[in-house]
Structure formats: C-alpha cells, structure tokens
C-alpha cells in the first residue's frame, strides 16, 4: 500500500497586466485638465467682476475656448468632428436668430400672420378662473424699489436660460459625443418647432398686452433683472439689455425659457434613481414658469406649450432611437439567420 498521498496542486494565478502599465500614457492629459481648470478660474473671475456673457457671439466664443482647452492633444479626426459639430451648432443658432427676428416682419415675402393677443389672454383667464395670473402675481409680490428673496430666486432662475443649456452642451461635448448628439437632436427640434410657431403664430407677451393693447391691468416691466442685479452681476444685466433690443417682441408662443428649463432636467432624469432628486429637478421648470409669469414676460399657456413641445421632442427622438436600435439588431439577426425575440417582434409591430 502506498503511503504517499498526492499533494493538492495549486495553479498559480498569473498576474494580469494593467492596461495603464502597457499602453503609453497620454502625456497631454494633465495639460487638458490644467487648461480646463484655468478656464474655469478665468470664467468665474469674469462672472464676478465683468458679468456673465450672454449674447450669442460671446457665448460661442466662451464655449469655443472651453472646447479648445478640453480637446488639446486629441486626434485630428476628433478635431474634424468637433469642427463639423461647431458648424452645425452655429447654423442652428443662426437659423433660429434669423427666423425669430424675421417672424414679426413676415417671412418669404408673406405678410406677417395675425398677432395673437386676446386669444392667449382668454386661455389664461379660463385656466385661472377669470384672473390674469401676471397681474395677480405682481399685485401680491412686486414692490417697486424693494428686492425680496423671491425676486433674487426668480431672477436668477430666469437668467439661467442664457447659460444652462450651453453649459450642458459643452460638458456633453467633452464627456460623450453620443450623448451630445442625443441632446442636440432634441434641442434643435425644439428650436425648429419654436421658430415655425413664431412665424405662424406671433403672440404678444403680457407686458405688451397691458401696455399697447390695454387688455389686462398695467404690469411693471422689465423687472426680471432686479434680483440678479442685486446679487452684483451688473455686467450681465447691461449686456442683456443690449441683447433684448434686437429680439422679436412678439415671440411669446411657445416660451423657450420654459422649454429650456425643462429640456435639461428631462434629459438627465433617466440617470437619476432617487425620486426626491427627480422631483427636485422638475421643480426647476416650474419655478421658471412662475418667474416668467411674475415678470410679465409670458402667459402661462406659453410655458405650457413649451413644455408640451419639449415632451413631444423627447417622445419622438426616444422612439426614433429605439427603432434604430431595433432595426440594426434585426438586421444582425436576419443576416445570421436567428429569429427575433418574441417580445421584440410584438413591440416592432406596435411601433410600425
């Protein structure tokens, strides 16, 4: 009988090489972070002492500078894609500005469409049981010469319209081109629909209905800058006044302030799991709508229309992207001779 017992064998686990130790380091990565840090510091300095750039050209320059900092050392192809993206971005804003500016003067040689004043006022009165929400809010909360805390909150919320979507675009541009493209599809669709509505349905804002048409009680305007001015952002306010003078005064329907305030939280909601955080994010467009009505810039129905259009763009693009994924997956399965999953087949029928 053999007394030798077989010792357990231990197969040594081969140490795995880290990719970082094998692939040469990207020596320009620290440079990118340093440049982005310097940009952020310069931006904050400018924000505090010069004011926030809000006109399209200043914003485009500031976004461009940020992208240059973030793309240093990237491949030439990445730069080429960035250039094409920038051209599309500029074309989108140019189309928007041109259409919006021309809407009240007529487009393509056509006379301007009839101005909506009473209709929107009447809708608001139906929604609020015969009251004008703009007048009611100002009567209860507005005090000439006094800036309350809610003036600061509402004014700051109002001013984020000029900054927040562009900041989101720039961050997405750097972090994920795929997500940037998803965001831009929705954003550009929203702008396009808004431009068409500005042309076919020029709508007077409440302050104009009060001042020029006397359809509602007088309301104070402009008061949207007071809270922000109170915070010390004087340069921002001056730039904004210049910008305002070039705008189309009868582009109230739909409210892009309300739309932009919704598109940002709506885009990021799928990544947020906590309900309380989702609810908090969705209060932002509500606060924006309250600000718009309080300042006399928009009717309530303008904001609601903006939300509906924003929801519609998300619905459309979500379905479209889902359909694209299914089409590609279906092509792969068909080419490999595999049957489609039963659930997917049923859903495809529902979509088509």
């Amino acid at each position: 009988m053999s007394t030798t017992s077989e010792a357990p064998t231990f197969v040594p686990v081969a140490p795995k090489w880290s990719l970082r130790s094998v692939v040469p380091a990207d020596v320009l990565r620290p440079a990118r972070f340093t440049l982005m840090g310097m940009y952020l510091a310069a931006y904050l300095y400018w924000l505090r002492f010069k004011g926030l750039p809000i006109d399209r050209i200043s914003v485009a320059i500031s976004v461009g500078l940020f992208l240059v900092c973030a793309f240093v050392g990237r491949s030439w192809r990445t730069w080429g894609v960035l250039l094409l993206d920038c051209l599309a971005y500029c074309a989108m804003w140019y189309s928007y500005e041109a259409t919006r500016g021309a809407a009240d003067r007529g487009v393509l040689g056509l006379d301007p469409f009839p101005l909506q004043v009473e209709s929107v006022r009447n809708i608001d009165r139906v929604l609020f049981l015969g009251h004008d929400p703009n007048v009611v809010l100002q009567n209860h909360f507005y005090q000439p010469g006094v800036v309350r805390w809610y003036d600061v909150v509402l004014s700051t919320t109002y001013m984020t319209h000029f900054v927040l979507p562009m900041v989101i675009m720039a961050v997405l541009w750097v972090t994920s081109h795929r997500q940037w493209a998803r965001f831009m599809k929705r954003f550009a669709t929203l702008l396009g629909i808004a431009c068409v509505m500005f042309v076919v349905m020029p709508t007077a804002p409440p302050w104009m209905a009060a001042k020029n048409y006397h359809l509602i009680d007088p309301i104070a305007r402009p008061i949207n800058w007071r809270g922000f001015y109170h915070l010390g952002f004087h340069g921002f306010t001056n730039d904004y006044k210049v910008q305002l003078s070039d705008g189309n005064p009868v582009a109230a329907m739909p409210s892009l302030h309300a739309s932009f305030a919704l598109i940002v939280p709506a885009f990021f909601l799928p990544w947020v799991r906590q309900r309380w955080l989702k609810a908090t994010m969705l209060t932002f467009p509500v606060v924006m709508l309250v600000a718009l009505v309080y300042f006399g810039e928009h009717w309530v129905i303008d904001g609601l229309a903006g939300w509906v259009i924003t929801g519609g763009t998300f619905w459309y693009w979500n379905r479209r992207e889902q359909l694209t994924r299914r089409l590609r997956a279906g092509r792969a399965r068909a080419a490999l001779g595999a049957p489609a999953p039963a659930a997917a087949t049923a859903d495809d029928r529902a979509i088509t």
């Binding site: 880290s18 972070f33 092509r331 792969a332």
Partner: protein, 162 residues
C-alpha cells in the same frame, strides 16, 4: 459616472469567427454575439470594434450582421501609441490594447488567449461550451449582471473620452 452604456469591444478574432462559418469558434461566437445584440437592443451595452479590424467586414456594417457595431476610428496618435506598446510584437494586439485604454473599454469579446494577460473582462470566458449551454437568455442575464456589477471600469474622466 459614465452617461453611455458600457462598451463591449468585438476583437479581431471574434469578428473573424462570426464571419467565417468554418471557424472552430463560429457557433459559439454567433451565440454570444446574438446575446450581445439583444443587450444592445435594450441599450444595456454599446458594441464597438477597432476601425481597422472592421475594415475587412465593411460590407457587413449598416445592413449586415455587424449593423449594431460602431467603429472606433484609429488616428495617427493611436498608431503611434500602438507602436510603442509592448504587445508581444503583434501590432493588431497592440492597437486593440490602445483602443481599449483610450476608449475606456473593459469588456472584450475575443478568442485570442493572449488578452487574458491583461486586466480585461473577456467574453466568452474559458469555460467549456456546447451549443446547448448556457440556456437561451441565461448568458444574457449573466452578462447583464456582470456589466451592471462592475460599472466602475467604464467610468472615465471627461477629458479622456474620444
């Protein structure tokens, strides 16, 4: 936090196995690929491949079996890094490693045993396989669990995203 679903890179040997019905791994590759396609359809993963490795199968993109696969374009800087990468003298392997590193890919579908030496999650794993196993859907569930369980691998600093 990464906004995109985790990427799964289809490596050269895996693409070849899908393309060639006479390949010894063909059946297994198609089986796994169909599971990945199902996850792609549910937006749980993104399927990517190195642009150079997709070139022989160009006709298969858009309308062929590789319609869901996105190409990772290879630039001069990637080739330069691949040239300097220690990868057993194989430029294709070096390029795969570079692209995995630069695009924050940690899951690779491959039949190349050399990739086991690196800190990558390889699909399929080394376990024996037959056409009947694993049951349909189980592999997809395992992979989904694997991908969901280790999201940290796919998080990347913003400045690194190409």
């Amino acid at each position: 936090m990464s906004l995109d679903p985790p990427k799964v890179l289809l490596e050269q040997s895996f693409l070849r196995s899908i393309a060639d019905p006479t390949d010894s791994h063909h059946e297994r590759a198609v089986h796994l690929y169909l599971d990945l396609v199902q996850q792609y359809e549910q937006e749980q993963v993104l399927l990517v491949a190195v642009g150079d490795h997709l070139r022989p199968h160009r006709g298969w993109q858009r309308s062929g079996p590789l319609a869901p696969v996105e190409a990772l374009p290879v630039g001069f800087q990637h080739r330069r890094w691949a040239h300097r990468t220690e990868a057993q003298g194989d430029p294709a392997l070096a390029l795969t490693l570079v692209m995995c590193q630069r695009h924050k890919v940690r899951r690779v579908a491959s039949f190349d045993p050399r990739l086991q030496q690196y800190d990558l999650v390889l699909l399929p794993d080394a376990a024996p396989w037959s056409a009947d196993q694993p049951p349909a859907g189980e592999l997809a569930g395992e992979l989904a669990g694997d991908l969901a369980g280790a999201p940290a691998d796919d998080t990347g600093s913003p400045a690194d995203n190409e």
